[in-house]
């Protein structure tokens, strides 16, 4: 399991062996239930227990905005900002020719279907600033620009950081992405 090395694994295993049988049964059942009941939202591919996730079902969200993220963890990070009120679309990864991941392995055609059939006015690409993220952003922008306004989140200096300690690539991006102040 990610982040768990041999020593932690041994500690956890020994801890579980010391528990009463009832607790272990309940734990095993909870794992099985989670595995069986949690699926993907038919709309946005976020994790959900039903057919559609809470965000897609929530009628108070702005339904004309779709924010595209690589996976559910990124979606949850954006939700923590409490700033974004639109819908999401989870790609299930990023285009990465090195790892043999092409666009056809991601949830891209359902995204095109959503955009052409729903009242979407803007697609916000919220992908990590990496080779894979940039490739995927460019691919999606080319694909979707015919149907809808495509934007991407800003890359630049993180809040609270020092200009002096920023790496060259980030500073160059921040300069390149400068915007007019009114």
């Amino acid at each position: 399991m990610p982040g768990i090395g041999p020593r932690t694994a041994q500690r956890l295993a020994l801890h579980l062996l010391r528990q009463p049988e009832e607790r272990i049964k309940a734990f095993a059942n909870a794992l099985l239930n989670a595995r069986n009941q949690v699926g993907q939202c038919q709309q946005c591919f976020h994790l959900t227990e039903g057919n559609e996730c809470e965000i897609c079902l929530n009628q108070n969200r702005q339904r004309n905005l779709i924010c595209v993220v690589a996976d559910s963890r990124d979606l949850l990070a954006l939700e923590r900002t409490r700033e974004y009120k639109g819908l999401y679309h989870v790609l299930g990864g990023l285009i990465s020719p090195m790892d043999g991941i092409g666009p056809e392995l991601l949830n891209i055609s359902p995204l095109v279907k959503r955009i052409t059939s729903e009242e979407t006015t803007e697609v916000i690409l919220a992908l990590t600033p990496s080779v894979e993220g940039d490739t995927t952003s460019l691919y999606l922008a080319k694909l979707l620009n015919a149907f809808v306004k495509v934007t991407r989140i800003a890359y630049g200096l993180p809040v609270g950081s020092e200009l002096e300690y920023a790496d060259e690539v980030t500073l160059a991006r921040a300069l390149e992405g400068r915007r007019t102040v009114e």
Copy 2:
């Protein structure tokens, strides 16, 4: 001295005491010379040994662009990107009412003089994304917008970072600062 604690100070002092007298004399002279000869550029307030700094004297730089930074360290960080070809203006700090630093203590009126007398077409504010940086950016934007186009560097996700681990404020800024992808 910044970044030097008592133990490092002791190690450095003992090292210096072990050097031959000639070397110490040369070191002391170098320090005195640096103190006496390094001053501020009359144009941009960057460090220089002459009246004007190398950047202001360089006729190959774009003279219509002025990038405003808090201090010379930030200027050097931007130079390391090798992306920026314009001129600079070093404020000598940021507006900080808490520390009693008002606009009159910074090199702001020489900046206004430069903009109104030179062929400047754009002022880029490259200040840290902090309360003081934002305050100073807003102050300068208000002051300079009458004369020239004012932009500021992008705040958002640093290159190579993971969206998942970005703090809420940075993510919110990145969302707010999103730009159209063509």
